[in-house]
């Protein structure tokens, strides 16, 4: 394709715009001053130690992993069979059902969190944990339906029919024939859903209580009163996790599968 100077310059500026602010966080995380400053004076790893020793951050990190993992597993359990049924059989109102499964993406996250808080915590009197789990299930489900759905639609079902004719039960054929064939779609969907649950802020804003706070929410409340490099250090650690995750996906599926 044809290169044009103007476009190239804009593209380079865009990538600088995207990465310089993140580089700034990395640099400030090593500063010795009690408040964030740039350029930094001195060099220390104390903020990393402080971040990793913080009870609040570590427990909210664990909660984010647990909620993200459980919610995505639940979404897989519900979503994978549903995606199969919608792709494989003629279901009346198929498009309507599919758009209903994708409907959580249309509702603003803050509204989802707010209404869940009102309903589950205030009216049903259930613990915040359940509300968080269901909220994050709602975040995950559309990714499962969309990504697994498209692999289910591309699958060649004649091999499943062969298994049936050879006397395999429907359930066994689904588990032993269909699932292995869409496994890369399931893995990609899991990754996408998990990352989006882990990073989500608005759904969790209302759903937090004593000892039950997700990592982004506890970062936000810490930043309300503090402006020190602890946040920079945590940001760098999370970015390292993201890089590790991207490497994992690139090595297994190729990044194009989740883009």
């Amino acid at each position: 394709m044809h290169k044009q100077k103007g476009m190239t310059i804009i593209a380079i500026c865009v990538f600088l715009f995207l990465f310089l602010p993140l580089c700034l966080i990395v640099v400030t995380s090593f500063g010795t001053a009690a408040a964030i400053q740039f350029p930094i004076k001195g060099f220390t790893l104390d903020w990393y130690a402080k971040a990793l020793q913080s009870e609040t951050f570590m427990s909210s990190f664990k909660l984010s992993l647990i909620i993200g993992g459980l919610a995505t597993l639940l979404a897989l359990l519900i979503g994978v069979p549903a995606a199969y049924a919608l792709a494989r059989y003629s279901v009346k109102g198929k498009n309507l059902i599919k758009s209903f499964f994708l409907s959580p993406t249309v509702i603003p996250g803050i509204v989802v969190g707010y209404s869940l808080f009102q309903f589950i915590v205030i009216q049903l009197g259930l613990p915040v944990f359940q509300g968080l789990l269901m909220g994050h299930f709602l975040i995950s489900l559309p990714y499962i339906i969309r990504v697994v759905g498209s692999s289910m639609e591309q699958m060649d079902y004649s091999i499943e029919e062969v298994a049936w004719t050879l006397g395999c039960t429907r359930l066994r054929a689904f588990i032993q024939i269909v699932l292995p064939n869409v496994s890369s779609g399931i893995f990609a969907a899991f990754m996408l859903a998990f990352v989006n649950s882990f990073n989500n802020v608005p759904v969790s804003m209302f759903l937090s209580g004593p000892g039950v706070t997700m990592l982004p929410t506890s970062l936000l409340s810490y930043m309300e009163y503090n402006y020190d490099p602890t946040v920079s250090a945590i940001s760098v650690l999370l970015m390292l996790l993201t890089i590790a995750l991207m490497f994992l996906i690139e090595k297994t599926l190729g990044l194009a599968s989740i883009a």
């Binding site: 394709m1 804009i10 519900i78 869940l116 209302f206 982004p216 936000l220």
Partner: protein, 278 residues
């Protein structure tokens, strides 16, 4: 196999969505339609009569529009550039675009506090250069929210556009240039029209994303420059005004749906025009 089996398989998902999405929404919003008012939607008329509420409503729409426009203007050249480099570089650039998308929005907004804050990079630099003596108030302004939101959603726009640009065949462009078109006019007359549908899809994502984002307006706009999502949070928690919060919730849903419908119908019209021409 029993004809009803597929319905049994999709049923658990439908039940969970009804119980944990629809029911809570109705539970929150239903009372606002009738309660405490002589006329239906009275709560909504009251909301739009208040000039402070209106200013937040229009700020939200305005910022979302500006952010969408900027991401289009920056996204098209960048996506065109990415689609044009060789395969290896394209992979690298796509990974670089994906990375911010997978990074928490709290981190990405925090970056801009470091840049725009009172003791941030911009103010430090300007003071050192002697251009200003007092730090500028860059944070907690509409400008800060716009920069932060562009930063948040530009990768989304680029990703969407690269997908479209890749389908435009290089031969078409070569043909145009062989026939005497300059690279720039080939870009304007071939690439731009063909990327309209992708731009619309990207615009839906960016506009509704900015409209409903919470982190960025919270961190970069604060209480001074509230948007609908931060306003909703403040109404519900600090002020305990559940009625107003629910009114805001419904307005946000309706605006999101209207924007999606509107842009989708434009996309459909564009598609039909392309078909007629072919």
């Amino acid at each position: 196999m029993n004809k009803n089996v597929p319905y049994f398989i999709v049923a658990p998902g439908i039940i969970l969505l009804l119980f944990f999405l629809m029911l809570p929404l109705i539970n929150s919003i239903w009372p606002t339609l009738f309660a405490g008012q002589a006329v239906m939607f009275g709560n909504y008329l009251d909301f739009f009569k208040d000039s402070y509420n209106l200013s937040i409503f229009w700020r939200t729409i305005r910022i979302s529009g500006i952010v969408t426009l900027i991401t289009i203007l920056l996204g098209i050249p960048t996506a065109y550039f990415i689609a044009g480099v060789n395969k290896k570089w394209r992979g690298i650039l796509m990974a670089l675009t994906l990375f911010p998308l997978l990074t928490n929005s709290v981190i990405r907004s925090f970056a801009w506090i470091n840049i725009l804050g009172k003791s941030g990079v911009v103010n430090t630099l300007l003071i050192k250069l002697g251009i200003i003596h007092q730090p500028l108030n860059l944070l907690y302004t509409e400008f800060a929210i716009i920069v932060g939101s562009v930063y948040l959603f530009l990768p989304t726009m680029i990703m969407t556009l690269v997908g479209v640009m890749e389908t435009i065949e290089g031969e078409t462009l070569e043909a145009a240039e062989t026939l005497g078109a300059s690279p720039f006019s080939a870009f304007c007359k071939i690439v731009l029209p063909l990327s309209v549908p992708g731009t619309i899809v990207g615009s839906i994502l960016v506009f509704t994303g900015t409209l409903t984002a919470y982190t960025t307006p919270q961190l970069l706009g604060g209480n001074q420059k509230m948007m609908m999502s931060t306003f909703l949070y403040q109404k519900a928690t600090t002020l305990g005004d559940w009625n107003s919060a629910s009114v805001l919730a419904f307005i946000m849903i309706v605006v999101t749906l209207i924007v999606m419908k509107l842009l989708n119908s434009i996309a459909k019209r564009v598609d039909r025009r392309e078909l007629n021409r072919a």
